[in-house]
Symmetry: C2
Subunit: 198 residues, 2 copies
């Protein structure tokens, strides 16, 4: 048992180190060498815990998503329909330091995902889950009579998800232009719009 | 004169090579060595034309933006208000191969910009210009009576710009989910909404 615990702890240390390097210097600077140095291990030690650099990066992405899901689970408890959707979408915005770091990590992965490979596959799987959840909450909202008639809910889901990523990116790149309050106001307005407000 | 022409031609060749490397392998793979190899020059030759790697990447970003601006100038000729805004926003979406490549380049730069430096400054300057143009067209549309009353045009500008980047990113990452037609429909609906359609 102790060995297995050590293994997991060690992996987590390395993943945390990878996350710090990515956030500080960008995903291109997150070489195995740089990650090992940040974690305080030798390059050789890393190969005991990870197959390659992509394995480390994927673990960092997954562990970030896992934290988000856990936080969301707590926030969404007991909520459904538009109320749950509001929590979900606001939680995905970089409204505080923790979520700003999560978003920055995500933005780094977008560019890298576009070159293909496992990272793109994982990105797609996890994005499909999020889209599925948004779509399911829109359905629930519609059944509860919370959605104004005549709206295409597939289009609504894509619009909301595009806004979340677009606003999140712009908050990080142009913080003087988009305050957390602006993000919150724009996102809330979209939910009001679904409910039939102009 | 010939020398100057050569200099510019050479720089353009290197910038084109950088763009190809970024699109094929990601921005982190675009080292000076890789760019030199792609361009068919030695590392040493590159130093005659560029100060450093960031100089090359910035030139690639700026040359991509210059092409976009030239294309836009032609498309916007004679248009104003919502009609011009429609052309501007649709042109910014990856609706064909050329614009998909431009978007992929842009996404790669986002992650790198977040680590700061000149790239972030340039990104901010050019984004501010685009925002200014969108805002000016919204003003013109309002003066022409094309905007339904009671809308905050600053918020509208941020919403449109966030949607453009969010939809563009999602089209590249999740092409099965978002067709060019969907992108066009969602963006057009936003313009109709400004005009007062539900």
């Amino acid at each position: 048992m102790p060995k297995i615990v050590d293994h997991d702890v060690r992996r987590e240390e390395v993943v945390d180190a990878a996350r710090r390097v990515i956030l500080r210097e960008g995903i291109d600077a997150a070489t195995t060498r740089a990650i090992a140095k940040e974690a305080g291990y030798s390059n050789g030690v890393l190969t005991h815990y990870f197959a390659d650099k992509d394995d480390i990066l994927l673990s960092a992405l997954r562990s970030s998503h896992r934290r988000i899901v856990e936080r969301l689970r707590a926030k969404l408890a007991g909520l459904t329909g538009l109320a749950a959707l509001r929590e979900l979408l606001l939680d995905n915005l970089p409204l505080d330091e923790e979520r700003a770091r999560e978003t920055a990590l995500e933005v780094g992965f977008w560019g890298r995902s576009l070159t293909g490979g496992t990272l793109l596959e994982v990105q797609r799987e996890e994005a499909a889950e999020l889209r599925h959840l948004v779509r399911a909450l829109l359905d629930a909202a519609e059944r509860a009579g919370e959605i104004a008639p005549g709206q295409d809910l597939d289009d609504a889901a894509e619009r909301l998800l595009a806004l979340v990523d677009g606003l999140s990116l712009h908050r990080l790149l142009y913080p003087d232009r988009l305050s957390p309050e602006t993000l919150r106001r724009l996102m809330t307005a979209e939910l009001d719009r679904l409910g039939g407000a102009s």
